[in-house]
């Protein structure tokens, strides 16, 4: 195997043209997969120190985060805490200090685990990702990026340069909870994030995203639409629980059964809405 630390994107594109070449960023997924024999790259192309993939900046009503920025830096960023605080809160629960000091959101998204914690707040903030290849640049909605467990629309030779989060209008409540067996390093059994705008007890806008209960982390647009405009009361909580358990199709695995996951996600939703009701 070959290792190469690239210093600019031109070099990166040239290196990625090699058939067995794979990007290496923090390595917290890649190193595990190589050890398990799930990945045998002919070359690892290290982007962790590429300047164009680093940093966090404000651009009008959006926040742009470099794909290789570490989760620790994002968690601590004053811009993130001011404009999209839920992202900082969620990253505080991803892995451990050592993992966050290496791991990146580019890696978290491209790895495309149905349990990826970074994906939940990013979905709620209507994130778009910037994909770069020899053919040019394309922006893809994160919702359209995942195509299955471990699969994305990223083409061979293409890389993620940055993520663009839309800063939401003020006045919302936010919620995130992941259920797992232990706090640090927990691979979620089920997770739910929500942004909620309430006015005079009416749901003005609601956004929901779930992890570990579908082949990919995803938004629940249909339920969002059905709950918008409703009075937030106990009847709505019951209806919401029914909607979400009907909408998701979790799997049973070594960590939890499908019916347990349905119950958990229903409880999380009721808790999230209930926090605003009571």
């Amino acid at each position: 195997m070959r290792y190469q630390r690239v210093v600019n994107e031109k070099e990166l594109l040239e290196s990625l043209a090699e058939p067995g070449a794979t990007i290496l960023c923090g390595g917290t997924d890649v190193m595990i997969k190589m050890r398990a024999g799930m990945m045998q790259p002919s070359a690892l192309i290290d982007v962790s120190q590429l300047d164009s993939m680093q940093g966090i900046r404000l651009d009008e009503s959006t926040l742009i985060i470099g794909a290789a920025t570490t989760e620790s830096d994002i968690h601590k960023s004053p811009l993130v805490r001011e404009h999209v605080p839920l992202l900082s809160t969620v990253l505080a629960k991803l892995g451990s200090v050592q993992i966050r000091n290496r791991g990146s959101l580019g890696g978290n998204l491209v790895n495309a685990s149905p349990a990826a914690d970074g994906a939940i707040p990013l979905l709620l903030f209507d994130t778009e990702i910037e994909l770069v290849s020899a053919k040019g640049i394309r922006w893809i909605k994160l919702e359209d990026f995942f195509t299955g467990p471990g699969r994305t629309v990223l083409a061979h030779g293409e890389f993620v340069r940055s993520l663009r989060l839309a800063i939401p209008n003020a006045g919302y409540g936010s919620f995130y909870h992941k259920v797992g067996r232990r706090n640090a390093l927990t691979i979620a059994i089920a997770s739910l994030g929500m942004l909620l705008w309430i006015e005079e007890h009416v749901i003005r806008e609601i956004r929901m995203a779930v992890g570990s209960v579908a082949p990919t982390a995803r938004r629940l647009r249909a339920i969002e639409n059905q709950l918008t405009g409703r009075l937030l009361n106990d009847a709505t909580l019951d209806a919401a629980r029914q909607l979400i358990t009907d909408a998701i199709s979790p799997i049973s695995d070594v960590r939890a059964s499908a019916s347990y996951r349905k119950n958990v996600i229903g409880d999380l939703l009721v808790r999230a809405l209930g926090a605003s009701l009571h």
């Binding site: 195997m1 070959r2 290792y3 630390r5 290496l24 923090g26 390595g27 917290t28 190193m31 595990i32 190589m34 050890r35 690892l44 290290d46 962790s48 620790s72 505080a92 892995g95 451990s96 200090v97 050592q98 993992i99 000091n101 290496r102 706090n183 640090a184 390093l185």
Partner: protein, 156 residues
Amino acid sequence: MRIQCVINGQPVERDIDADMRLLDFIRETLHLTGTKEGCGEGECGACTVLMNGKAVHSCLVLAMQAANANIITVEGLSDGHALHPIQQAYVETGAVQCGFCTPGFIMATYALLQDTPDPSEEEILAGLEGNLCRCTGYAKILDAVKLAAERLRASE
């Protein structure tokens, strides 16, 4: 491949395989065996070292990723005569039993106290969440961190 970096203040230069982990570079190439391998998968923290001031699992970093970096291992803390105050505090509070996890905990503590000299109990737990100990039940490790923090603050 050729790697150059600084380990415990000393510049080193070696030829290594591209797929070598930082952990193996430290233990096998440089014979610094204080850094331990427990799980090899980022779960136990026994392999924790500082890379450019940040705690990392050396089992999850390629050695070549540490090229030009500044690495500190547990051997780099003491001046060769007295123990470092963090090491001393672990010994005094009985936070060391079999000792396998200790170098990793000490390095995670070092990183924590460098950023947060006066940590709350919650901050200590968060700072050490990447490290596991099968022997002590953590209460004594908490005591060790508090004692070390106190002494380091007093010595400033």
